[in-house]
């Protein structure tokens, strides 16, 4: 356990409550990544009802509604998120078993042919031997108490048996096939399916938070050649937004990706630059709050990792206070957040 509270007190109001159908944009650059902030969002939503020992950073007043989280990650694997969350005292695999959390893997097999899935769907008809059909049935009763295999419900049992223990928390692996809007729609259906599964065990007062980690990777990997541009990505996102209570999106905002395509700059922007800039800026126009991470302008410092600026986006109301804070990530993963001039 880190010595700091898992949720920095200064950030708690920004992390713990998201108004309905709001979009929060987290922008990061290479030197100041957004993982720690996403983990804090996860912690703020998930810890209150499950890990009572780790919830001292959060007020317990509005505990009537539970929060659920669906995390879609395009740039980091399940293993990464699980290990990092563990350092915060958050057991994602157990939460996935309790149907409080679902992980959608957009990284490992995004552009692979869906082998496990096709094998699973094709296997029962052609492999009609009784050995194949009885084998997968066996682990199911044995695994119930610890891990909760119900989180992998959509996946047929064959592939379940083939999976390693570490992949148990993954609700869905995304596959990109085809091109253009149709391919995006297929991804949207897959994610919406996971969201619906989470919803099925929800009360009315529960809130479902959708975190999409770096969908800009999808845009960069496909791009206008595949018939996908910034507008299509933004529409894809707002279609997903309609399924959930609130959405958090992380994006890269490195200088070449944002400024090369600006209207004042040169006209020689590459397609990926102009599409990325259009995507990021149009999301900032929609967002309620934009949390921008960057490094210190004055260079590296021993006790400051970067700057977090929280601004109102285009869809903001007056309830959001704008701030600029410094943060420091310690070696053990603990984060301190403080104002300029404080320590």
């Amino acid at each position: 356990m880190p010595s700091q509270p898992p949720l920095p007190p200064l950030l708690t109001p920004y992390l713990s409550s998201q108004p309905e159908s709001s979009l929060t944009l987290v922008s990061s650059i290479l030197g100041a990544t957004s993982n720690w902030l996403v983990l804090r969002f996860l912690h703020a939503s998930l810890s209150a009802s499950s890990n009572s020992n780790a919830s001292f950073g959060l007020e317990e007043s509005h505990n009537g509604s539970k929060k659920k989280v669906v995390l879609v990650s395009f740039l980091r694997s399940w293993e990464f998120w699980r290990a990092e969350a563990k350092r915060l005292g958050l057991d994602l695999a157990r939460l996935a078993g309790q149907k409080q959390f679902a992980f959608v893997d957009g990284l490992s097999e995004l552009f692979c042919a869906p082998q496990a899935e096709t094998a699973a769907t094709i296997a029962p008809p052609n492999a009609g031997s009784p050995a194949r059909t009885t084998l997968p049935l066996r682990p199911q009763p044995g695994a119930v108490p610890g891990r909760g295999p119900s989180s992998v419900a959509p996946v047929p049992n064959n592939s379940y048996a083939a999976r390693s223990q570490s992949e148990l928390g993954i609700a869905k692996k995304l596959h990109f096939s085809g091109r253009g809007i149709g391919a995006l729609d297929a991804l949207e259906r897959d994610i919406a399916l996971v969201i619906q599964q989470q919803r099925s065990t929800m009360d009315d007062s529960d809130e479902l938070l959708l975190i999409i980690d770096q969908p800009d990777f999808l845009l960069a990997a496909t791009g206008p050649v595949m018939g996908i541009g910034a507008t299509e990505m933004a529409e894809w996102l707002s279609a997903l937004q309609q399924n959930v209570h609130a959405t958090i999106v992380t994006l890269a905002a490195d200088s070449p990706l944002i400024h090369n395509a600006s209207t004042s700059g040169n006209q020689m922007a590459a397609p990926v630059e102009s599409e990325h800039a259009a995507f990021a800026i149009s999301l900032a126009h929609r967002a309620r709050s934009v949390m921008q991470l960057r490094t210190l302008e004055t260079g590296a410092a021993r006790d400051v990792s970067g700057v977090l600026r929280i601004s109102r986006g285009g869809g903001a109301d007056d309830s959001l206070d704008e701030r600029e804070l410094l943060y420091y990530i310690q070696r053990d993963g603990g984060v301190t957040v403080f104002g300029r001039g404080e320590s």
Partner: protein, 326 residues
Amino acid sequence: MAPVNLSHRRTHNLLLISKLLSLRDTASPLTLLQDSLEQPATPLIREYIRRAKASSCNSVDQLLSKVHVTLIGLETLKQPDGVDAFVSACRKSPTDIVKEVAAVYPSSASAGPSKRRLIIIDAINPLISSKRVDAGFHLPSFLGSLIAPTSPTAKADSSLVVNYHQDVPGLPQQNPYSPSPLSMLTYLATSVITLHSFSHILARKAARDRSLVAPVFGLEEEQEGVLLGRLDKLRGTNAAEGIVLELEHRRKSGRGVLEWYILPPASRFSPQQVKEVVTLLDDNVLYNPPMEPDTNADDEEPKSTFELGLTERQRREREGGRPALL
């Protein structure tokens, strides 16, 4: 600027902006708003909606002046308060949008004499740069079909307010000989309102007054990792809140009117207020601080920086006293 000229401008241009925002006399069928991340257009759109509602509540002849507000949401997901009809245009083709917008308007037979209608598009950018829209998409005819529906029975005079995000980079032109969508829009619009943040305007003016380079904010800073620069440092002091509207209005005669206004934040006035809240930027005390009044005009002689500040009597005493001491 001469004071006579300013008062003339004040009368005429305040009347003009009041007319435009309240949609009187359909002064502007197509208004283009140009916003940016530094100053989004949401407060101004809310002001349009507020006025449309306020006029329908307060006026005596309700039937005549009721304004029907339609919001075409390309970015908005939820129906905002005060909007009569909300058309979510996400993932829809332009022809479908036009059809739906025509459908949500109550048929004119039931609504009595000509009602006014306000159609707001929250952001036109997705429509312009969408790959879903085929090459045959013609922006002027799309906008035209929204304002003037083809069916002759609908005799509403509609005004269209279109918002354009200036900072979202557009796609490279398909046809190098056709004008860019933005120049098309500015050409078509009868009034163009560019939005600025008041605190930025003040900072630029302060720099200009000292002959310094004007500061830039947000994306224009070109600083790595910065999308938005708008940190309201003056927040809480209540001083520099508000939006600056740079209006370019084209009269029917062809004469253009250029004026800068300031719209105070919505918390400063009640939603039902009928009195005009917009003022000229030049009338603002923060932008144009009142000159220190000329204290005494007869004080013509140049003053030295070294001023003893003796009164006449003290000086006489001094001058008279010195020989006595010696």
